[in-house]
């Protein structure tokens, strides 16, 4: 008989706890009743078809997807370029720039949101897609920089040297050797940026206009007034979408590595 592991039991309990919201939401979304209940009563897709009748959800989903995609691409390009400079060259002020690149992580989103609102009002881009996009790029850059820097810290620069010795021009070396080997770090930076933008509420809260709201924010607002199975069905859609990217992230990079947990076992 195996001894009952206390840590294992608590772990099981905690895992159940953190996943409980999803275990509850998804069944609730299929309820046939007109009110929110768990366990759900009956089975129907009615709350899913109902989403389509609510333009604010459909439009905000579209806005969120667009925002997250553009954020992911731009934050990845900007963050990757900066990480390259920081890793490859030793220069005065590189420490300052490095700290600056990661600094949005250390300041509460609340302050980032408020300060962006104040500033964007001054320059006239408050409540625009551009303003929202800039703020989302800002909060995504630190993740990209950190991931790519991590990738570069284990990158063997003699591989580049080997490329040069074989006659490859620096751009060719970058394209043939450096970039493919950093692809996992860069791609995961991109996916992580996408999720950061797609999930964000606190920063968006200060920057959206009524007609450009994002999906999490639309749910947030709706939830404060009404709690019905519609929230469950739209949440289920978001969960599914997020899961696609989470699985992708796990495949490309591995969540353990992403969060700095390097398992020695494999």
């Amino acid at each position: 008989m195996k001894k009952i592991n206390t840590f294992g039991l608590i772990t099981f309990f905690v895992l159940l706890l953190v996943n409980l919201p999803f275990l509850v939401i998804i069944p609730s979304s299929f309820t046939a009743a007109g009110y929110l209940a768990f366990p759900p009563e009956g089975f129907s897709f009615q709350w899913y078809t109902m989403i389509l009748d609510r333009p604010e959800f459909v439009e905000s989903l579209w806005t969120s997807l667009k925002l997250a995609t553009v954020t992911a691409v731009l934050a990845t390009v900007l963050g990757t370029l900066a990480a390259f400079a920081l890793s490859k060259y030793k220069f005065r002020g590189s420490g300052v720039i490095n700290a600056l690149m990661l600094s949005p992580l250390t300041v509460p989103s609340l302050i980032i949101g408020i300060s962006a609102l104040l500033f964007f009002t001054r320059i006239g881009i408050a409540g625009t897609f551009t303003g929202l996009l800039l703020a989302h790029i800002l909060i995504s850059i630190p993740y990209v920089v950190r991931l790519v820097l991590t990738g570069l810290s284990t990158f063997d620069y003699t591989l580049e040297k080997a490329g040069y010795m074989l006659g490859a021009h620096p751009l060719r070396v970058f394209w043939d050797i450096t970039l493919p080997l950093l692809r996992p770090a860069i791609v995961s930076g991109m996916i992580f940026s996408f999720l950061t933008s797609f999930d964000n509420v606190t920063v968006s809260l200060f920057l959206v206009a009524p007609d450009t709201t994002t999906l999490p924010l639309a749910i947030f607002t709706y939830m404060q007034e009404t709690l019905d199975p519609l929230v469950a069905s739209i949440s289920a859609v978001v969960i599914l979408l997020s899961l696609v990217f989470i699985v992708l992230l796990e495949k490309v990079y591995g969540l353990e590595r992403l969060f700095g947990l390097n398992s020695q076992s494999h």
Partner: protein, 280 residues
């Protein structure tokens, strides 16, 4: 290519975003927090805080909720980290996945799930009433307990991550060495494992505390109108009352008190001996 030119070209785009969307706005916000209605310099937005017990009470509530969250994440997270450190590769991977994946899904949705579970007609109350254990539904939501539950769910991953990282770094032969020397398992834990994962515990507790102090969504959704915390008050000043200078000042007061408390805490816990052992 010229080295300086390369550095400039590579870092400039990101630096422009950082300066334009982060540093400059922060300075503007700081300036604004020292302005009155006529845009003249004033300290009133900050002094108001000390004078009005309403704000002090709210700050104290914010701190209280954050401390409870730290305690809950530590008590629940530590065993998980221990389990992960002892688990084999595959099991460890599964646990990591299951603790981290929810973290990548919007907090609004997670909070919604909890509302369904904890509400007056929620799953827990229905179950307890069916079992006849209670007659009146328990109030698990729209109070401080609800906020602490929501925040614990939101931030436990950070605690687990921080402690697990420090546990992974401990040489497994150390506990073998301790038991060869005659230490029991419990004694080994308290004399070897726990002291050595102290950096992880400090990192986890300070991080969860800071995050809880500035959390906005969960208090708003799971605390309702009755549990107002600093971020919610600041938000109201900015978006509802449109008193931007006061809103900005409240946000900075929150940040300032968080930094102060975290500094005090680390000063207290990081003794001379701690610094010598963990100096990098």
């Amino acid at each position: 290519m010229n080295k300086r030119l390369s550095i400039t070209l590579l870092t400039a785009p990101a630096m422009i975003v950082l300066l334009g969307v982060f540093i400059l706005p922060m300075l503007l916000m700081l300036m604004l927090s020292f302005q009155d209605e006529n845009q003249a310099f004033t300290l009133q937005n900050y002094t108001l805080f000390v004078q009005d017990s309403f704000y002090v009470e709210i700050l104290w509530r914010t701190i209280r909720v954050s401390l409870w969250t730290v305690l809950a994440t530590l008590l629940l997270g530590f065993p998980v980290a221990m389990y992960m450190a002892q688990a084999t590769g595959k099991m460890r991977g599964i646990v990591t996945m299951l603790i981290l994946a929810p973290h990548l899904i919007s907090v609004v949705i997670r909070n919604f799930g909890w509302v369904v579970v904890l509400g007056e007609k929620g799953w827990i109350n229905e179950m307890l009433m069916k079992l006849g254990l209670i007659e009146q539904p328990l109030r698990l939501l729209y109070n401080e307990l609800g906020v602490v539950i929501g925040l614990t769910d939101s931030f436990i991953a950070y605690m687990v991550l921080a402690i697990a990282t420090s546990l992974y770094a401990i040489d497994p032969s150390l506990s073998k060495a301790a038991s060869i020397l005659g230490a029991s398992r419990i004694r080994t834990f308290f004399t070897v494992t726990l002291p050595l994962c102290l950096p992880g515990i400090i990192a986890g507790t300070t991080l969860v505390f800071s995050l809880s102090m500035s959390a906005f969504v969960t208090p708003a959704l799971m605390g309702g109108t009755s549990v107002k915390v600093m971020p919610v008050i600041a938000y109201e000043q900015i978006m509802a009352t449109l008193n931007w200078p006061l809103g900005a000042a409240l946000a900075f007061l929150l940040l300032g008190s968080t930094i102060l408390l975290v500094t005090l805490y680390t000063k207290l816990i990081e003794t001379k001996r701690y610094k010598e052992v963990f100096a990098s």
